[in-house]
């Protein structure tokens, strides 16, 4: 077990809950598909521009759905004061943070495993490739890390539904830019090297928010 034991135990708890009621993943998939459909009407997509514009639509859908999923993930903890139980558990705050981050990241990745093929089929973009998997996994880690910090904060405020996106969306903007550009690079048939600078930004963001989140989390959940 070691240090990873508690982290996995918390993530496993969330996954088990999810397997039983499928609350979060289903809402993530449905909501993000609706965003795709709305954008399809809002933006005139042609075979010419879809490889450039499409990745932006895809990542906006993932980011918006992410807000909903993250909120849900902590509302479940808040109901019947499960969060207090978690805080009483013999797990350090950074372990708690990493466990919740892992669980949230897995939810988002499962939703993306459905969303990205649907996106590729609906918009006829050639993105079902290994590179996209790497980009999506790395970006999702950053989303989940930053989102877990802000969702844990928002849950303790009035009007938490608005507080999470207001904090989350500007903070992840560099990650969003990098994910869109890296995906567009792959979709337009660019070389792996051309996307590497964007991957660097994603890596830095992931490192900063996962490490920073772990260090700061005990200030977020104190008492």
């Amino acid at each position: 077990m070691g240090a990873l034991g508690p982290i996995w135990a918390i993530a496993r708890k969330d996954l088990l809950l999810e397997v039983r009621n499928r609350d979060i993943v289903v809402s993530l998939v449905v909501f993000s598909m609706l965003v795709l459909i709305v954008f399809n009407f809002a933006i005139e997509l042609t075979p010419v521009n879809v490889a450039v514009v499409g990745p932006g639509i895809l990542w906006v859908a993932i980011a918006f759905a992410g807000v909903i999923g993250l909120n849900r993930s902590f509302v479940l903890e808040k109901e019947r004061d499960a969060l207090d139980g978690l805080m009483l558990a013999p797990v350090s705050r950074d372990g708690l943070f990493l466990g919740k981050t892992l669980g949230n990241a897995i939810f988002m990745l499962v939703a993306q495993a459905v969303l990205i093929p649907v996106f590729a089929a609906l918009f006829d973009v050639d993105i079902l490739r290994f590179e996209i998997g790497v980009i999506a996994a790395m970006t999702t880690l950053g989303f989940a890390g930053a989102g877990t910090v802000f969702a844990a904060m928002a849950i303790n405020t009035r009007s938490r539904e608005i507080m999470l996106p207001v904090l989350f969306l500007p903070a992840i903007s560099p990650l969003l830019i990098a994910a869109v550009e890296a995906t567009a690079g792959v979709a337009t048939g660019g070389s792996w090297g051309a996307s590497s600078r964007w991957i660097q930004i994603i890596t830095v963001f992931d490192a900063v928010f996962v490490v920073g989140g772990a260090l700061l989390f005990h200030y977020v959940l104190e008492d």
Partner: protein, 247 residues
């Protein structure tokens, strides 16, 4: 009373500095040959932008110091600095747009500096919203300190990403990219306007800091009053509280 007169003196000095700055900017300094009259916006835009950036750093310093030491004065500093930072950041965005319209022919462009300023401005609006919505007292202060630190850490990543994003796209901005040296009169005017704006900023910051401290004192007093069973008066309107549960 001495304290009040010192602040009044500072206010008078601020007004005098502002009058001198306005005179220099609009009457004394020569008009720039290529850009014309609008170049005078620079004497406001540059100082407020520097201060907006400095305010973010000050929020981060106050936030770290508060989390480490737990002393509320650091939280008051971070909060006051975030408020003034949003104010001066907003001024930087507005004065920049006023400058951009005649020079770039657009109010706004997604240049790296502009993008970063706008996103940071939103992060610190989020900070102020969190202060408003979070539970009062230490918990709210802790949460916003975390946001203040994250905002400052995020700033270089945002700038780097926005910079790379812009340079990866063709730029349609044909502004004066070369940053030449200013004429000595212009440099002097910029120096005076910077001193003026910094003094104004410091004054506003100190005022907000004092408001935060007074609020904390009022909260402390009303808690004491309630503990002693005397019905407290509401601090906002001065009207007596109808029910304070004074049993």
């Amino acid at each position: 009373m001495r304290d009040v007169s010192a602040r009044s003196a500072w206010l008078v000095i601020n007004a005098a500095l502002m009058a001198v700055s306005l005179w220099m900017i609009f009457l004394w300094v020569p008009t720039e040959a290529n850009l014309g009259v609008i170049q005078r916006a620079l004497y406001f835009h540059v100082p407020v932008s520097i201060i907006a950036l400095g305010a973010i750093i000050l929020v981060a310093i106050g936030s770290v110091a508060f989390l480490v030491s737990g002393r509320p004065r650091w939280d008051w500093l971070a909060h006051a600095s975030a408020e003034t930072g949003v104010l001066f950041g907003g001024l930087a965005l507005v004065t920049g747009s006023i400058w951009a319209r005649p020079i770039w022919n657009v109010w706004w462009t997604w240049d790296a500096k502009l993008t970063t300023t706008l996103i940071l401005w939103f992060i610190f609006i989020g900070y102020l919203m969190l202060r408003a919505y979070a539970p009062p007292g230490r918990q709210g202060a802790r949460l916003s300190a975390v946001v203040g630190i994250i905002g400052a850490i995020d700033a270089p990543i945002i700038y780097y990403a926005a910079d790379l994003w812009r340079t990866a796209h063709p730029s349609r901005v044909t502004g004066p990219g070369a940053s030449g040296s200013l004429e000595s009169e212009m440099a002097l005017t910029l120096l005076v306007s910077t001193i003026t704006i910094v003094s104004l900023y410091a004054y506003v910051l100190v005022e907000r800091f004092r408001v935060r401290r007074s609020e904390a004192e009022v909260a402390e007093l009303s808690k004491e009053l309630q503990a002693s069973g005397i019905p407290a008066r509401r601090s906002d309107g001065g009207a007596p509280a109808t029910a304070t549960g004074g049993d």
